[in-house]
Every structure is written in C-alpha cells, then in structure tokens.
C-alpha cells in the first residue's frame, strides 16, 4: 500500500502534465491500429455488396472492378426485405411508444412519488432484467399460443393459434423492459422535486405534473429509452425466430437469416441486405452517440 498524501491545496494547472510526445504518438498509433482492425470487416461488407455476383467467388478485392447496385435489388426482392422492414418498423415504433410511456411513468413514480413497498417492487422488477431469454422463451411461446380471443382462440385460449405468427406475438416481450424503468428512475432521482411542489401549490394533479412538466423536460431520458427500445427490437433474433413462421411476419434479422439458409449462399446480395438492415441503427447511433453511451453507462455502477 502506498500511503496517499492529502491532495495539494494549490495546484497550479490541474492535470496538464508535460505531454510526452513519444507516448502520445504510441497511444494514437495503437488506437488507430485497433480501430482499423475493428473496421476492416465493415469495409469488406460494403465492398462485397457492390461486387457483381460473378466476381464474388474469385479473389476478394476491396475495390470491385465494376461496382453494381444489382445486389441491392436482388436482396430487396429475393429476401422480401421491404415487407420485413415494414414489420420491424411497426414493432419498433410500438415498442418505443409503450416503453417511453410506461417505463418513464414507472421510473418517475419510483423516484419522486414513493409509496409503501415501492422500493421492494422496484428492485423486484429490475432484477427480472437478469433472466436469460432462453428461460422465458418456451413459456412465452405457449402464452402467445394460448392468448385468449386471438387467432381463433376462445376466452380460455384454446382452439386456435393465438398470437403465434403475428406481429402482436412478436411484440409481447418488448412492450416494457426493466432496464428502461431502471434508467428512468435513475434520471428522475436526480431531478429537483421543487418543480412538482410549485405545480401542486397551483393545484395541478399528479398526472398532469408528470405529463406536462417532467416528461417534456426529460428529453435526454426519452432519447435513451427510445434508442434502447429501438435497437433491442430491431436487432433481436431468437424470439421472432420462434414465434413467427410465415415470411409475411418476419423481421429484418429473420429475413436475412432465411435468405442465408436458402441453398447456395450468395454473399453479394446477402451483404447488400446486411448493409440495408444495419443502416437505420447506424444512423441513430451516429446522431445520438451521447445518448447511446450514457444509456449504457447509467445503467451500470458509477466507478
């Protein structure tokens, strides 16, 4: 153990050490090499997506001799990507809306409107985030199948296929996630309750206070919840795989996987599809990097 001296009272220039050019250069070099290594696969994906099919199985070339857009056309048509995009878009829009509404309301109450037992309930709900998807996969499948009054089922959930092979079925586990409740509570716990007090004195109801005052001010939180709901639903694979069967209900990830498993792999069109499917998520990331990172780190311990 080194005994740490108390911090000096007068620090003239905090942490502006002599910059040692050599270590700085080494630093940047190592990071640059790592970044190149990480990005190489993406460069090849883009390259392959423009490579004519007849050249795809020859020597891999980073700059295709005669680039073409035909792979994109093939992917959209053969993998039925249009339909898949529509399905995934519907699912993500609904999941974003329900998560923003339900998870922020719950997180807000856990932070600013505590009630008897709210602490226990909060921890109970958040701990469900640790339940592996494979544990709930089979029961959720059966619940979707036995969903009352859906897909030809009667009130007891018997007789039909329920929500299996429907977008409603795919949506079941996405409607509200414990992680979003957690993020919302963290956010509102750091806001000032004075706002609410002032509004209460004016005679505003609690719901109005939340809806009209706190939620509009909580734009960073709404962004994080929206982004996490969006990427979670857009990228999920196992649940849609299990709950849907027909092509008209498939999500983008499923469409790609189905396209891959149809006989001979055509890497050109497959990569074109991969690019198209990844673009929305990448765009959201590039425009909201801060929200991405804060969502990831706020949901963890502060070191």
């Amino acid at each position: 153990m080194t005994a740490l001296a108390p911090p000096p009272v007068h620090v003239r220039h905090v942490s502006r050490r002599r910059s040692r050019p050599r270590s700085r250069a080494l630093n940047v070099t190592v990071l640059a090499v790592a970044t190149v290594l990480v990005l190489i696969p993406f460069l090849w994906v883009i390259s392959l997506s423009f490579t004519p099919t007849r050249d795809a199985f020859g020597e891999p070339r980073l700059f295709p001799a005669d680039p073409t857009l035909s792979n994109y056309a093939t992917a959209v048509v053969d993998a039925d990507l249009g339909r898949a995009f529509l399905n995934s878009a519907i699912l993500t829009v609904v999941a974003v809306v329900t998560n923003v509404a339900l998870a922020t309301a719950a997180g807000y109450a856990f932070a600013l409107l505590p009630f008897r037992g709210s602490r226990v309930l909060f921890y109970g709900l958040v701990s469900t985030a640790a339940i592996p998807a494979s544990v709930t996969l089979i029961p959720l499948f059966l619940m979707a199948k036995q969903f009352p009054l859906a897909g030809g089922n009667d009130l007891m959930g018997v007789g039909g296929s329920g929500l299996l092979d429907s977008l409603g079925g795919v949506l079941l586990p996405y409607v509200v996630t414990p992680m979003n409740i957690f993020l919302a509570r963290q956010y509102f716990a750091a806001t000032s309750p004075d706002l609410s007090e002032a509004a209460r004195l004016d005679g505003a109801g609690e719901f109005r206070i939340f809806w009209r005052i706190h939620l509009p001010l909580a734009r960073p939180l709404v962004a994080v919840v929206a982004i996490f709901s969006f990427t979670g639903v857009w990228d999920d694979f196992l649940w849609p795989l299990v709950v849907t069967s027909s092509p008209q209900n498939q999500t983008v990830q499923l469409a790609l996987a189905r396209f891959l498993s149809t006989g001979n792999v055509q890497y050109g069109p497959l990569m074109a599809g991969a690019v198209l499917v990844t673009l929305p998520v990448l765009a959201v990331f590039l425009f909201n990097q801060r929200a991405f990172v804060s969502g990831l780190t706020d949901g963890s311990v502060k070191g």
Binding site: T2, A5, V38, F42, V45, P60, S118, L137, S300
Partner: protein, 299 residues
C-alpha cells in the same frame, strides 16, 4: 442485470403517494405477467413431459427431465462448449478492452473518433456480424485470402471441429470489445483526479498508479462488466445459428442452441425447459462467483 447504485432516500419521508402506485401499475403488471410469470411457468414445465403438437395436457414427471440430463451426453457437451466459449471470449475481451480504455482515457484530438469507431460492432446486430464473419471464414473468404498472400495453406475454420468454436469466439471478442471499452472508460473517468495528483506527489510511478489507484477505482465497473459478459455470452445463440448451426459434430452447440433445437425441432418442451433452468442456475452462480472474485476484499 441491475447492480444499482445505492437507492437514494425518497424525499419527504413519511409521506406516501398512493398515486405513485397508479403510475407504476401498468409497467409492473405487464412485467409480472410477461416476465415473472413465464419463469414460474417454465419451471413448472420443466417437471412435465409436453409436446405442443399433442392434444394432451403436460404430463407431470417430477424430476425425470433433470435426472435424464445427468446422463445426456449432448447436454453435457453443450455445457462444456458454453463454458469454453465464455472462457475463450471473456478474459481476452476484458483485457483488450481495458487496454484500449486506458489508451482512450487520455484526452487528445480525435480520441472521440476512436471511441465511436470501436463501439460500432456493438451497434450492429449479432446476426449481421455473424454473416460478415461467415464470409470471412468461408473457404475463399478474407482470412484464407490473407493466408494465401503469406504463402500459407488455407484453413477450414468453421468447418473443422477443432477450430470452429475458437473461430466463433474470435468474432464475439471483436463484437464485445466496444461495449466493454465504453463501460470501463466510464469507470476510469469516475476515478477522482486528485488521487492521481496525490500519488504523483508521493512519487508513484506509472505502475503504482495503475495498481493502487486505477484498479481499486475501477473495481465496481470491472465487476459489472464481467457479470454482464457472463450473462450475455452464456446465452450465445444467434451467432451459432448463423455460423455453424451447432456443428461440426456438435462442437459449437451451446446450451441455448440445444434448448432451441430440443424445443422447436424435437418438440420436447419439458426437457428443453429443464435445460434452460440448469443454464439459468449456472449463469447465476458463475456470475456471483465472478462478482466476488473481481470485487474481492483486497483494498
């Protein structure tokens, strides 16, 4: 997995808002029905024999499914594969991510670009990432092209049972680096600067600062990262589905992949549920052990 910071004391102690319960009710009820209840349902299913195709109700068989798993060589192998997968990916990912986080923690021009670029694989779905690597590993894909350029013979990568799991692990390391790095970076930035200042005054060198300031300060975040990695890696499915379908000869069949085939190809829901619960129990215990190991009581 929530390792929540200390719960802030509710303000205005003694006053309770019944209206808070109304705010919480929709989300809470939904999670109870679609997240908690399925766990109990699944546990109940694991004590039965049930095929969704049959008209008959689940038949209670007690512990028979679990007993059968003890002698099930496929399941044993899948547990082993899953364990190997976690052990191949986790230490390397955390070590490399820690190194990158330390490098990216120094402010300099353009550091933001590196941080973002390294994070990109985390944004892309596992399915897409696996497809990209499937091509790179294919017989005339990128890796064999490189080997060829070096005058070395091409490898069979995913087609050889001795290398398939390692190949899948390399892909997963590449994918997990960014999120691990960003979390560790946040941990590094949470360490009070004056500790470093004080250490410098004491004449501590680079290694001493790392050993006595950085590591202890990073411990909570490191614990969180390791626990999260175990939880996610042990559930590997999408990458296996795309890369190898569990082959060759079961060498990449993880427990989750086995659960999927048992349930949705062989329709034995009871036995698949038992497998899922054994995995669940193992994930919980291993992440608990890891948390104790990393969190340690050394100061």
């Amino acid at each position: 997995m929530a390792t929540a910071p200390l719960y802030a004391k509710p303000r205005r102690v003694g006053r309770t808002h019944w209206v808070g319960a109304v705010f919480v009710a929709p989300a809470a009820l939904y999670l109870v029905v679609f997240q908690l209840f399925p766990v109990l349902y699944g546990l109940a299913l694991s004590f039965t024999e049930y095929s969704p195709l049959s008209r008959s109700a689940p038949r209670v068989v007690g512990l028979a499914n679990y007993a059968a798993l003890l002698h099930d060589s496929d399941f044993g192998k899948a547990l082993w594969v899953t364990g190997k997968y976690v052990l191949l990916v986790l230490p390397l990912t955390v070590l490399i991510a820690l190194g990158l986080a330390l490098l990216a923690n120094r402010p300099f021009r353009g550091v933001g670009f590196f941080r973002s670029a390294l994070y990109v694989p985390h944004i892309v779905s596992l399915t897409v990432v696996a497809m990209v690597w499937l091509w790179m590993y294919s017989p005339d894909g990128l890796f064999n092209h490189w080997l060829d350029g070096l005058g070395l013979p091409g490898q069979r990568w995913l087609l050889d049972q001795d290398t398939a799991l390692a190949a899948a692990s390399a892909m997963r390391i590449w994918k997990a680096l960014g999120s691990n790095m960003v979390l560790l970076l946040a941990g590094l930035q949470g360490i009070p600067r004056d500790l470093y200042e004080a250490a410098s005054v004491d004449g501590a060198g680079w290694w001493h600062k790392f050993r006595y300031v950085t590591l202890p300060g990073l411990r909570p975040m490191l614990t969180y990262v390791v626990a999260m990695d175990i939880i996610f890696l042990a559930q590997g499915f999408a990458e296996i589905f795309v890369l190898t379908q569990g082959g060759p000869l079961g060498s990449t069949t993880t427990v989750n992949y086995l659960v999927y085939t048992e349930a949705f190809q062989y329709n034995s829901f009871g036995s698949a549920s038992a497998m899922a619960f054994v995995l669940f129990a193992l994930i919980v215990s291993f992440s608990a052990v890891a948390v104790r190991g990393v969190a340690g009581r050394k100061s």
